[in-house]
Amino acid sequence: MFLSRPARIVLRLFSVAVIAVLYFPLLYVMRLSVATSHGFTWPPSGLTLEHWRSATEASGPRDALGNSLTIAFWATVVALVLGSLAAAALSRYRFFGRNVINLMLVLPLALPGIITGIAFSSGFARLGVDLSRATLVTAHATFCLVIVFNNVSARMRQLSSSLDEASADLGADQLQTFWYVRLPLLASSLLAGGLLAFALSFDEIIVTTFTAEGGFQTLPLWIFQNMFRDTSLPLVNVTATFVVIVMIVPVYVAQRLTDVASGGRT
């Protein structure tokens, strides 16, 4: 290692400090979820499991969580399909407009959410399309696309086309080659891209505000609407804590799978 020992120690301490600061607000929220004090005031006081208990009866956060998972799932699926198609096209063929398309793909993510939100909202209004789950998935998939695209493109660049030629030499047609040769090799990038796309869609609030239909609440929307109610604030804290704790396992598993799929080294 080219860094001196003191430098490594400082780096380690710094990293621990950053992680601590990163998690402090989460621990604060967790503490609030069992507190009797009102609002978000510091310091929280009192200890009660009442909020957790009544959370089991509340249908609002449960439904909202389900909705968020559903939307994120479909947005990820669409992004995976379209993102890999686009990656296949752009990484293998050179043609006029390739750079332009690359730039266009990044736009939905690079432009602030409020712009994407109002663009879609007025776009749907103009086309006379009612807001629905489909419009929400459309909006989310659009900014998730580029994440899948980039992950898959990067991986495709690493793969040589000689694999395809070898497959053809062995008698496989284009579709067989795709299914049996290309896809498995792309697995890790699809997984990594898909996971990040899912996370992005799950926590998204600004675009969602403008493109979700009437009574439909994703988790961020539910949280937002309950921030205005004192009686529901503890429920919000319980829900946020719950989601973080619960998501640790799937995220860990997904990370392991990504590592395995990429052969232990990305």
Partner: protein
């Protein structure tokens, strides 16, 4: 391939530009007329409401008066909550909702844009029991055509930390005084409609301006109000919009005084231990809000919408809503069951509510009847508000 690609792009572009340049919503010049009778329920209704106005138990299992409505009428209700009047206006404009509980700063905008339908008050079973001073006013009707059914109202009171702010204030000068000892800890309401509060103060302190209606301000009057608010900004700790966060600031002590709602005062006083706040209606009077239920001109379930209007104005439902949210009920019969609440909120107290100027949407046509000048409309209030906040 290159050629085909270019054609595709060009064709798509043409379609888009053609669509974009097509006519947009022409604001309705004739408003949709009210229906004649309540027909058979459509089986569903879509409600857009302030938090605590249409509770169905999903947000908080303790509050639920929508379920009974669904059972009684067979209209399955979906409720969406909004946080600000601007959101209400925008969402209602999409036409996805049948009814909305609109405050005066968005209600008339919805009428002007053709989003709201006229309401046939003959179809309303409880309309007669609603307090007269709330019906057919500037914020829910035009020339006798009713667009909004009163739901409940509340005054914007002056709240202050009773431990810190002594002696107790009795005038809005407390929040406008440049030499205030509480500078940096005062709060104002985060909405362009707050300009009216400055106007109310000017009505008392600068009578030469001739302001009759704080929502009807000509160039000179408007500039005076805006200047007052610009001068106020350095005194402020916050412009509040989320009242839970606002409460937290009083608990923490970073805000000690400002315009507020009775529900906030009550909540803070009910803390354990109680937060030391008190409220007063200053001698200059104040602004207030009166929320009304409006029906969408594009309502998909108009019959269920009317069923909702009739349900939400029932005395016992009004009592439940008023005590949950912390407001004065519109239907005075509700006070039979919540007499103390009604006293505290001055539900039937003319001496109180005559000092109030209820939120109304400012329009170019002066609301106080002057025809020799043009008043500032809401878009200009929004622009001025941005300028005030810097």
């Amino acid at each position: 391939m290159k050629k085909r690609y270019r054609v595709v792009v060009a064709a798509t572009a043409l379609v888009l530009i053609a669509g974009a340049c097509g006519s947009d919503d022409d604001g309705a010049t004739d408003t949709p007329s009210a229906q004649d009778e309540i027909g058979e329920g459509e089986g569903a209704v879509s409600i857009l409401a302030w938090p605590y106005y249409a509770e169905d138990g999903s947000q908080d299992p303790n509050f639920d008066w929508v379920s009974k409505f669904e059972a009684d009428t067979g209209c399955n209700a979906t409720v969406k909550y909004f946080g600000t009047s601007d959101e209400a206006f925008t969402l209602f404009g999409t036409g996805d909702y049948d009814v909305v509980s609109a405050s005066g700063d968005s209600s008339m905008r919805s009428v002007a844009s053709g989003d709201a339908a006229a309401i046939n008050t003959d179809l309303l079973t409880n309309y007669g029991d609603i307090a007269d001073f709330l019906k057919a006013q500037a914020w829910n009707s035009i020339d006798g055509t009713v667009y909004g059914v009163p739901h409940g109202w509340g005054a914007n009171v002056l709240q202050y930390n009773s431990d810190v702010v002594t002696p107790a204030p009795d005038s809005w000068s407390a929040v406008f005084d440049a030499a205030s000892p509480y500078a940096g800890k005062i709060a104002a309401y985060d909405s362009p409609i707050y300009i009216a509060d400055a106007a109310v103060y000017l009505m008392a302190t600068q009578p030469d301006l001739g302001i009759e209606n704080p929502y009807s301000l000509d160039e000179t009057q408007f500039t005076a109000a805006v200047d007052l608010l610009k001068a106020q900004k350095p005194l402020l700790a916050e412009y509040w919009s989320d009242y839970v966060a606002y409460e937290d600031n009083y608990r923490a002590g970073s805000t000690v005084m400002g315009t507020s709602w009775q529900i906030i005062v009550n909540t803070l006083q009910a803390d354990d231990p109680p937060t030391a706040v008190d409220s007063v209606l200053p001698k200059e009077g104040s602004t207030a809000w009166s929320d009304n239920w409006m029906v969408s001109s594009k309502a998909e379930h108009p019959n269920c919408a009317y069923e909702w209007l009739n349900y939400i104005t029932l005395p016992d439902v009004q009592a439940e809503v008023a005590s949950t949210f912390g407001e004065a009920p519109a239907n005075l019969k509700a006070c039979d069951s919540i007499a103390d609440h009604c006293t505290q909120y001055h539900a039937d107290d003319p001496a109180y509510y005559e000092q109030l100027h209820y939120w109304t949407t400012p329009t170019e046509e002066c609301l106080d009847g002057r025809s020799d000048v043009e008043c500032k409309d809401y878009a200009e209030w929004v622009a001025a508000w941005t300028e005030i906040k810097g």
